[in-house]
């Protein structure tokens, strides 16, 4: 399967996780990590699964590297019907009210443009005991399994 791991990062933690997900999946799939800052919405492709990894910054806002992407989405208003994505959020429950605000915004941008979200939005808590990858690897496997059916139908 063609997979792109799109990451929105501020501290680099989401970038590291995206690279780890690539390493985890690359034995069985064609997969690459791409910074959202370097990704144009016109590149979205119904034959590719998008695994999005995104943190939150400041007061529940998108991280720096996801902001240019949000601006491009607003300007281009692409029709993403048939595009499938899953989304994994990285946050910190020390900041309760705005926990995972960034990924929520990103998921909303995608679905508003017609894309289909696979699975639930998962939220890792940096102040919790679990490692992000321990949540993210099973999540990625689940989404890939769901996409096997979904992308098949779309093709």
């Amino acid at each position: 399967m063609n997979i792109q791991v799109l990451y929105g990062t501020e501290t680099g933690n989401a970038e590291m996780l995206a690279e780890d997900i690539v390493a985890e999946l690359e034995a069985d799939h064609t997969v690459a990590a791409v910074n959202l800052a370097d990704f144009d919405p016109s590149e979205f492709d119904t034959g590719t699964l998008y695994l999005m990894v995104c943190s939150t910054y400041g007061d529940g806002e998108l991280p720096a590297s996801a902001q240019p992407f949000a601006e491009k989405m607003a300007a281009a208003k692409p029709d993403l019907t048939g595009v499938h994505f899953g989304i994994f959020g990285m946050g910190d429950r020390e900041y309760d009210e705005t926990f995972n605000g960034g990924p929520a915004t990103l998921a909303a941008l995608m679905t508003a443009a017609g894309a289909t979200q696979l699975g639930e939005r998962i939220a890792h808590d940096a102040s919790g005991a679990e490692m992000a990858e321990d949540l993210a690897f099973p999540w990625a496997e689940d989404i890939v399994a769901m996409a096997g059916d979904a992308l098949g139908q779309a093709a």
């Binding site: 501020e10 501290t11 590291m16 007061d59 910190d92 429950r93 020390e94 900041y95 009210e97 940096a126």
Partner: protein, 405 residues
């Protein structure tokens, strides 16, 4: 060998720079040199003990040493153990990432009275820096001068009940000190109006979770600016509560003198209306940071342009930009500086690199840090995620156990 680079300071700005350099050129030799036997600088000794999520960035830095080939040389002081010029002679490029660890002084009459403490000095003691002074007696009514994020960290820690420190890495000594502090009221003052205050909104919102406080926000004022409005809304939402510790936010107060006969007992401020004096039992200054003076920062930065100081000499992070900007702001700087360094690099195979450090005693390495880290996290007390080794000797003892297992 494609070049050897020494980075002075293994805190976040040094580590992010090493990361950017090695990402661009994986076969580069990158050595991080630190005054302390342990790496990560500000993340370990400046990020608040109850902000463990923020400290998670060290997992990226660990990878530098574990997978990307960076090396750590701890317990090496530039200036006393080895000269900066010697280091420049041994490496193709040297980067100053030493941060700013000294408190900026409050330059007003009375600021040298007993009972006036810098926030950096106090937080170093709270976070058990090996060179920290003893935790001081603050009395029932400390007053904080400054309201940036460092001031808010201090306010939050002083206001927390013991239960609210669960999951932190605050040590036993500081925990006991906080529990016995007897603080009844904390006043936090800023020079600017609230709309222009330096704190981040998210830091203010976090105060809303404090369990045992009552908060007053006096004259926060208004603003037309949307960002400032968010700040004001977050502040005003704090107002109230029935907890035992009183917190008062004040704005538009410029300190003119610390008053007291033998110790700080009040601060006199100038205000828009004239003057106002607030009584207190201690004064905590959180008005920025400065160089501790181990490196001649002003002279070094005189010719600074985009991080370049002289041929093969660079600066990054707070050492370059001053005490402003968060950890990720410094990460953004690192990418541009790495490109610049690599563009100008002309490797000289004759340079000895870390060979220059060979004669020094008790240098610690990354494996030594891993032994310290394991010792600290193996059996933390209940409610804590780590129990720091608090002395240089203790750290060196653990780091030294190389090859003896």
């Amino acid at each position: 060998m494609t070049g050897q680079i020494a980075i002075i300071g293994a805190g976040p700005s040094g580590c992010f720079l090493a990361q950017a350099l090695l990402k661009a050129q994986p076969d580069l030799r990158v050595d991080l040199i630190d005054r302390l036997p342990v790496p990560y600088g500000l993340v370990r000794y400046g990020v608040a003990a109850d902000h463990q999520g923020t400290k998670g960035v060290t997992r990226q830095f660990a990878r530098l040493f574990e997978r990307q080939g960076a090396r750590f040389f701890g317990n090496v002081s530039i200036g006393s153990d080895i000269g900066l010029e010697d280091l420049r002679g041994a490496y193709d490029a040297v980067v100053l990432a030493a941060g700013l660890s000294a408190d900026r002084r409050l330059e007003i009459p009375g600021s040298d009275l007993p009972g006036v403490h810098g926030a950096g000095k106090l937080t170093r003691a709270l976070y058990e820096h090996p060179e920290a002074e003893a935790l001081p007696e603050l009395g029932a009514r400390p007053l904080i001068v400054g309201n940036g994020n460092v001031a808010i960290d201090l306010l939050r820690l002083l206001a927390k009940s013991p239960e609210e420190l669960e999951g932190s890495d605050l040590g036993q000594g500081p925990t006991d000190w906080l529990a016995a502090s007897g603080i009844e009221e904390i006043t936090i003052t800023g020079r600017s109006p609230a709309a222009a205050a330096k704190f981040d909104t998210v830091m203010i919102k976090e105060l809303g979770k404090l369990a045992d406080v009552s908060i007053r926000v006096i004259d926060a004022g208004e603003s037309d600016d949307p960002d400032a409005q968010k700040k004001l809304a977050a502040l005003n939402a704090l107002e109230g509560g029935a907890g035992a510790r009183r917190i008062t936010f004040r704005f538009g107060l410029t300190p003119v003198a610390v008053e007291g006969s033998d110790r700080a007992a009040a601060v006199r401020f100038s205000t828009a209306q004239g003057e106002e004096t607030l009584a207190c039992t201690s004064v905590l200054t959180a008005i920025g940071f400065d160089t501790p003076g181990d490196l001649p920062r002003d002279a070094l930065l005189r010719e600074e342009r985009d991080g370049g100081l002289a041929e093969g000499l660079y600066a990054t992070g707070w050492f370059r930009r001053g005490p402003r900007g968060t950890i990720p702001d410094n990460r953004a700087d690192a990418g541009a500086l790495a490109e610049r360094i690599l563009g100008a690099l002309s490797p000289d195979p004759g340079k000895v690199g870390a060979g220059i450090l060979a004669g020094l005693d008790e240098i610690t390495d990354y494996d030594g840090w891993c032994r310290i880290d394991s010792a600290e996290t193996a059996n933390p007390p209940p409610g804590r995620c780590r129990a720091k080794i608090t002395t240089r000797e203790g750290m060196l003892g653990l780091a030294r156990q190389e090859d003896t297992q």
